[in-house]
């Protein structure tokens, strides 16, 4: 069929994708939405295969799709929910790599046929090649950092910013030269330099900031795919790519806001300044006392409470204690306690990650309450149980203007009647900031591993 007919049939896919995202507005229909999206994708593949210009290479395609699908299915089935950010980074990277390669080959084909690609197509090709390549390399580094293959610490060296800028401008320069001289090899060189830039761009960013980076690179891959749409005159690529671009941009902004940092600070800050101030803040906390409690004490508090709110953090996921928290919550519910979970927007390692981890432990999603909804309820809460969270419940963010996290939206746990903090030791959280919540007279500390603590609490609550 002609490109025009295909663009008409691609409308089905476009509608399917928009519906898929629309259905994600409620957990009840979300799964159906994703399935509609998958059908839309399959439709797009079938339409593309029937294009007039697709006349050869069927065996290669079949083999390539088989290999890609097997890798995709195995990866997607095997990955642990805690490792979801890495998985997203990896799938994002391969998408970017595919976009860059498509542009490169298309550039070569059109150039060989006509000797001139035209300004719009030329610019789109170079854009998609460069951005796809940055996304590919950057995502792989992000994957490496989250998977502990590369050091999660910010890697810095003298002249870093200048070096990065040179690589960035160099890739653009090579791309422009490739367009002007219609040279395949110059474009290939531009792609390689862009990949190098992608690597050095992500290296200085700390592991904890990776979610912002992944979200940004997700937007990049979307833009690269959209640009490929201009190269191939395909509406479905343009629309789908831009949907992803919009989504990635929005999520990046939301995450940065939830961490109280600008996107520029996340990308170029390398987190150096915070450490110094944090050390000063920690030193100032000397002389304050913490109250420590046994599992039995806490069990009594919980069993006789009317309302309990659990505040899970990434420490809970690391200890694999989601199921135990769920069991404890069920036990309390049987005793007539009203139980909820307060979820901070950056709890976990990517936006909404903690919700997925708790859903995996069969916690019904209507018990997961977002920050804005739960904060006014804390004064009526008898006991808040903080498990493996630290910075997101730090009242310093609200009342210590000198604190590095001042201004960050937090869960107002300190306003509840009693607070139980389950933590292995007094060590500060990832940001290295001391937490006044621990010294609050209403707070008791239960020093234990999250999983062990939950098991002890379950046993104690049963005997109350």
């Amino acid at each position: 069929m002609s490109t025009t007919t295909a663009n008409l049939l691609y409308l089905v896919t476009i509608v399917a994708f928009i519906l898929a995202l629309r259905f994600l507005s409620s957990p009840r229909h979300a799964r159906l939405g994703v399935q509609i999206g998958a059908v839309g994708m399959l439709w797009a593949v079938i339409v593309t295969l029937s294009l007039d210009e697709v006349v050869t290479g069927y065996w290669w395609m079949a083999a390539g799709m088989a290999i890609g699908s097997i890798v995709g299915v195995v990866g997607a089935r095997k990955v642990k929910m805690t490792a979801m950010p890495q998985m997203v980074a990896l799938f994002n990277g391969v998408g970017g790599g595919a976009a860059a390669l498509v542009s490169l080959v298309e550039f070569h084909t059109v150039w060989a046929a006509s000797g001139d690609v035209g300004v719009e197509r030329g610019v789109s090709t170079v854009f998609s090649a460069l951005v796809g390549s940055i996304s590919f390399a950057g995502s792989l580094v992000a994957f490496g950092k989250l998977q502990d293959l590369v050091s999660g610490r910010p890697i810095t060296y003298p002249g870093q910013q200048v070096g990065n800028a040179i690589l960035f401008l160099g890739s653009i320069g090579l791309g422009a030269a490739a367009m002007a001289s219609v040279s395949f090899w110059l474009l290939a060189a531009a792609i390689v330099v862009a990949a190098l830039f992608g690597i050095v761009f992500v290296l200085p960013i700390g592991g904890a900031d990776m979610p912002v980076v992944i979200s940004l690179l997700n937007a990049f891959t979307g833009l690269a795919a959209a640009a490929t749409g201009f190269v191939l005159h395909s509406n479905v690529l343009i629309v789908s790519g831009m949907l992803v671009g919009a989504s990635g941009t929005l999520l990046t902004t939301l995450m940065a806001r939830a961490m109280n940092r600008s996107i520029a600070n996340v990308l170029f800050g390398a987190f150096g300044k915070v450490d110094a101030t944090a050390a000063a803040a920690a030193a100032g906390a000397d002389g304050q006392t913490v109250r420590s409690a046994s599992a039995d004490d806490v069990a009594v508090m919980l069993a006789y409470a009317r309302r309990v709110v659990f505040v899970p953090g990434y420490g809970l996921a690391v200890a694999q204690a989601q199921h135990d928290v769920r069991n404890l919550a069920e036990l309390l519910e049987e005793k007539g306690v009203d139980v909820k979970y307060a979820i901070h927007p950056v709890a976990g390692r990517m936006p909404g990650h903690m919700n997925v981890l708790l859903a995996e432990a069969n916690v019904p999603y209507d018990e997961l309450v977002e920050m804005e909804q739960i904060n006014p309820e804390f004064p009526q809460t008898d006991v808040s149980v903080v498990v493996g969270a630290n910075d997101v419940v730090n009242p310093a963010a609200r009342n210590q203007p000198g604190s590095p996290i001042y201004g960050m939206p937090i869960l107002d746990v300190d306003k509840s009647q009693n607070v139980v903090v389950i933590k292995r030791s007094m060590s500060p959280g990832f940001a290295g900031i001391d937490n006044p919540l621990f010294y609050d007279p209403k707070t008791v500390m239960l020093f234990d591993d999250a999983k062990a603590a939950m098991e002890k609490l379950i046993a104690s609550v049963k005997s109350v």
Binding site: L21, V45, V102, S240, V244, L250, L251
Partner: protein
């Protein structure tokens, strides 16, 4: 500027607005599935991979590059959708008997 380019640019701009509109309605609860779902959607680049693979090429090198593009894009599409579905399958409402 050719009129086709203008039309494509119009589509692009409208798609940005549709994207922002639709995505701003997704609750934080579902932001991880949203991220991996949109991840699967940009796998639409598989359309481009099929086109470049299916167009006759003068050399083996171009074929190899296209082949790699097909592999990468398929992994992106299939992996993205499967993992998103797997996550959403876990989101369950409180069972009725406990209401």
């Amino acid at each position: 500027m050719p009129s086709q380019f203008i039309i494509e640019l119009t589509v692009l701009v409208l798609a940005i607005f549709v994207g922002f509109e639709v995505i701003s309605k997704v609750p934080t609860l579902l932001h991880t599935p949203l991220m991996s779902g949109t991840n699967a959607i940009h796998g639409i680049v598989i359309v481009g991979a099929i086109i470049v693979m299916g167009t006759p090429h003068p050399g083996l090198f171009m074929q190899i590059l296209s082949f790699i593009a097909v592999v990468l894009a398929s992994a992106n599409v299939v992996g993205g959708f499967v993992v998103t579905d797997r996550m959403l399958e876990m989101f369950k409402k409180r069972p009725d008997e406990r209401e």
